[in-house]
Symmetry: C2
Subunit: 241 residues, 2 copies
C-alpha cells in the first residue's frame, strides 16, 4: 500500500455507446472547463464525432480522444472504475454512492480513475457495470431522473473539483490495474468452464458475476502476479488431464 | 424582516438573449431533473424554441416557459437576483461569490430568487448585471473558462440541491421585489435628469450605476412605499417649478 513515489489522481472519462456526436462534444467541453484531458470512447455510434459542434473550447480534448472497441481495452490502465446511474434505476448488485461520496473517493485514489457514462437511452449495461468498483448517482427527482449526457458529465466533474481545499485521502490499498483485473477474470472464467461450473446458457451472467467479484476483491497490483500464477497453474493442471 | 407567514425559497431561471434553441431545451431539462419548473426567457433569438429537441424529459418546463421583452419585466416578482459569470471575466462593480456561497444564499432566501444566464457568446451584459444583487462564478480553468449554457445551468442547479440537509438560513432582511427596486430606480433616474445630474452622453452608465446602487441598498418591501413616496414628492416639486 505504501509506494515510495506518490501516484497522483488521474481522471479519465469513458463514454460508452454514445449515439449523439453533440453529446461527445459537450462532454469534451466539460473536461476542458475543469482542466481534464483524457476522454475515451467505447464503440461510439458516429465516427464523425470529431466534428461535434458543441465542443467550443473542448476541441483539443476531442482531438486527443481515443476510441476503443471494448470497455476492457479502454480500462486497461485504470485502477478505480466508477459507473454513473440515473436516479431511479434499481441496481441490486452494486453499492451506489451519492455523487459527492463517490467523487471524494476518486480524488483520494492513487492511480488512474475512470468514470463511465452509458448510452443516452439505456445508460450503463449490466456488463458495463460489472467492470465498476462502485456506482454513483446524481440526485435527480423521480419524475425526471434521466439527465442529458453532457450535463451529467459536467455535474460529475464539477463535484470533483468543487472543494478546492480537499486534501487527497491516502488510498487504503494499491488497487489492481484494469488489465490485471481483467486477466484474472478471464482465467477464472476459463477455469469455471473447464471445471464444468459454467455452461453455455448461464455463461453471460456468470461472467458478469465473476468480473464484479474480482473487482470487489481489490487484489493489489503487487499481489496480482501471485494470483495469476496460481490460476495459471490450475489451468495447466486442467490441461494435463 | 419577520413575516408571520413563512415564504419558501422559489427559484426562477432566466435565460437572456439565448441564441441556440438546443441550449434552451437542455436548460429546461436541467430544471426538470432537479425538480424546478419556472423558466423565463428574455429576448430569445428563435421563437421556435419550444421544439428544442434536447429537452427530453424537460418538455413540460419548456411548455410552461414564459418569454419577456425586457429583463426588468422578467424580474418583477423576484427579490434576490443572482447573475452568473464565467471564470475569467473581470467584474469590478460587483461582489463575485464562489458558486457554493451564492447558492447557499439563494437557498436561505425567503421569496423568489432569479438566477440569470447571459447569451452563449457574450454572457451577461453590464446592464444585465446592474439588476443583480450578487454574481457567482463556476470555478472553471483559465484556459477554457466558458461553459456551455445548458451545462452551466445544470451545474448551478446541482449545487443548489446538492446538500439535502442544508438548513435554510433565515434571511437577514426582507428584500424588495424586483418591481419595487425598478420603480425606485426609474424615479431616481428621472430626478437625476431633471436635476441636471445626468446628460445624454452619460445617461447609460449612470442608469446602470443607479440600478446597482438601489440593489445594494436592499430597501425592504415594507419600506419601499415610503421611499417611493419621497421620490414621488421630489418629482412633483420639480414639476412645480
Amino acid at each position: 500500500m505504501c509506494n515510495d513515489t506518490y501516484i497522483p489522481t488521474e481522471i479519465t472519462v469513458v463514454l460508452i455507446d454514445t449515439r449523439n456526436p453533440l453529446n461527445i462534444g459537450s462532454a469534451a467541453r466539460a473536461l476542458a472547463n475543469f482542466g481534464l484531458t483524457d476522454l475515451r470512447l467505447v464503440n461510439p455510434y458516429d465516427v464523425a464525432f470529431r466534428e461535434a459542434v458543441s465542443a467550443v473550447g473542448g476541441a483539443p480534448v476531442l482531438q486527443a480522444a481515443r476510441v476503443f472497441g471494448t470497455l476492457a481495452e479502454a480500462l486497461k490502465d485504470c485502477s478505480l472504475v466508477i459507473g454513473t446511474a440515473d436516479g431511479q434505476r434499481r441496481i441490486p448488485q452494486h453499492p451506489v454512492d451519492r455523487l459527492e461520496t463517490g467523487m471524494a473517493r476518486a480524488i483520494g485514489h492513487q492511480g488512474r480513475v475512470a468514470i463511465l457514462f452509458g448510452s443516452e437511452k439505456f445508460g450503463l449495461s449490466n456488463e458495463d457495470m460489472s467492470f465498476c468498483h462502485s456506482l454513483i448517482r446524481i440526485p435527480t427527482v423521480p419524475e425526471t431522473p434521466s439527465m442529458n449526457l453532457g450535463q451529467a458529465v459536467a455535474v460529475c466533474l464539477y463535484e470533483m473539483i468543487r472543494d478546492g481545499n480537499a486534501v487527497p485521502v491516502q488510498a487504503a490499498f494499491e488497487a489492481p490495474q484494469g488489465a490485471d483485473a481483467e486477466n484474472i477474470t478471464e482465467m477464472l472464467r476459463e477455469i469455471l468452464v473447464l471445471a464444468g461450473f459454467t455452461n453455455r446458457t448461464t455463461a453471460s451472467s456468470t461472467n458478469e458475476k465473476v468480473r464484479r467479484w474480482v473487482r470487489r476483491l481489490r487484489i493489489s497490483h503487487r499481489d496480482a502476479p501471485l494470483v495469476m500464477g496460481i490460476l495459471r497453474q490450475i489451468l495447466w493442471k486442467f490441461g494435463q488431464r
